[in-house]
Symmetry: C2
Amino acid sequence: MEKRSLYTVLSPRLLDLYTLNGAIVVIIDVFRATSTIATALSNGARAVYPVADVDGCKTLGAALGAITAGERNGQVIEGLLHGNSPAEYPPAFIKGKELVLTTTNGTKLLHMALQQGAAEVVTGSFVNLNSVSQYLLKGDKDVILACSGWKDRFNLEDTLFAGAVVNQIGQYFSVNCDSALMAKEMYLLHQHDIKSFIRNTSHWHRLKAFGLEKDLEFCVTAGAAEVLPFYDRKSGALTALGASC
Amino acid sequence: MEKRSLYTVLSPRLLDLYTLNGAIVVIIDVFRATSTIATALSNGARAVYPVADVDGCKTLGAALGAITAGERNGQVIEGLLHGNSPAEYPPAFIKGKELVLTTTNGTKLLHMALQQGAAEVVTGSFVNLNSVSQYLLKGDKDVILACSGWKDRFNLEDTLFAGAVVNQIGQYFSVNCDSALMAKEMYLLHQHDIKSFIRNTSHWHRLKAFGLEKDLEFCVTAGAAEVLPFYDRKSGALTALGASC
């Protein structure tokens, strides 16, 4: 049987160069949207609604009676209730609740993937690495690992996570993709020093100014929130696949 | 004194995310445009005219009485005289002549850089690595290392060359750029096995079908054609900086 294809996309700007029709797209925004989504769902949130802009976040939050969340430059956006930090969503707070989330990069890319015809959309970060890899292995579709980057620029933390997935499951796919090859090599190079290596990234320098070092270290902690956030087009929500909600 | 900035751009699609005004842009298309340009100039070509399309190549070639060159899928384009291989331009053939060249990726990116306001445009590949690095060091402008990729997708060979430049001169610049950091690490990882490593790239697989393995190995041979191709907006030509032409 012919192997399925796996590609890595390094920036939202490059997404339309790949065939999303019929594919599973993994949205990756390690710092911090997809880490926060996995954490909230792992801690019992019923659903996370990713929305592309602040007004949409306020409107949907009001309609659902849900928690609204979003930051710009490390500050909670005026009119929203919470920020983008996974630490803000422990079980005692988030269990059984719904979260409406807007972020700079990850939620935008998720909506791009939907518009460009992705068959399935899930989200991934180091905190749910194994859940993502296991889901992709079980499926029957081509795989696109889509990095959110920072305002369309390449970033290392999303690439390293894509590389971690390629390292786990690449052998079962046809990988004719220089981005995936590079990502895997970068991951193998830094899998044992990832918490120190990320201090070299531009995103670290950007966010450490807001005292978010602990947040960022959590975001690269493998297995901290093992759940598979799966997007449902009908409801517009990410829910934990297999969980009752 | 504040250090100048250095950025690496991984695809033409990402070029406009960077400030080209006032910067030196190095166009990188290792397989094979910028390897061929350096080789032709190093072997005595008076000038290389990079043109974005086939019709422009024919028209300018006829007007100048120059050699026209361009390939698609490993074949010389109908109506042009030569291909994109550096091996086609030995001194006995090219010395004192002018070449009009059209390619899929590199010549397109060069014109994008001009349109987006680059102060200076030069071209680089492994064959003229030291000439590029020395020129960038001597200058007083910010530096953009611009990878042509393959039809806007990321590729490894251009990234490795950008990494070789960052490795040589990065310490003299402010490098707040994840792409440059990644490129340097990939280069350091493969500097000693580059001729075998490039056999893993998607471009190798694409071009080896046309029997171009020797060409590709030449393109990653450091120092094989040390010259600095510098674009002159007035003439529309690349000439060897410092050479009389």
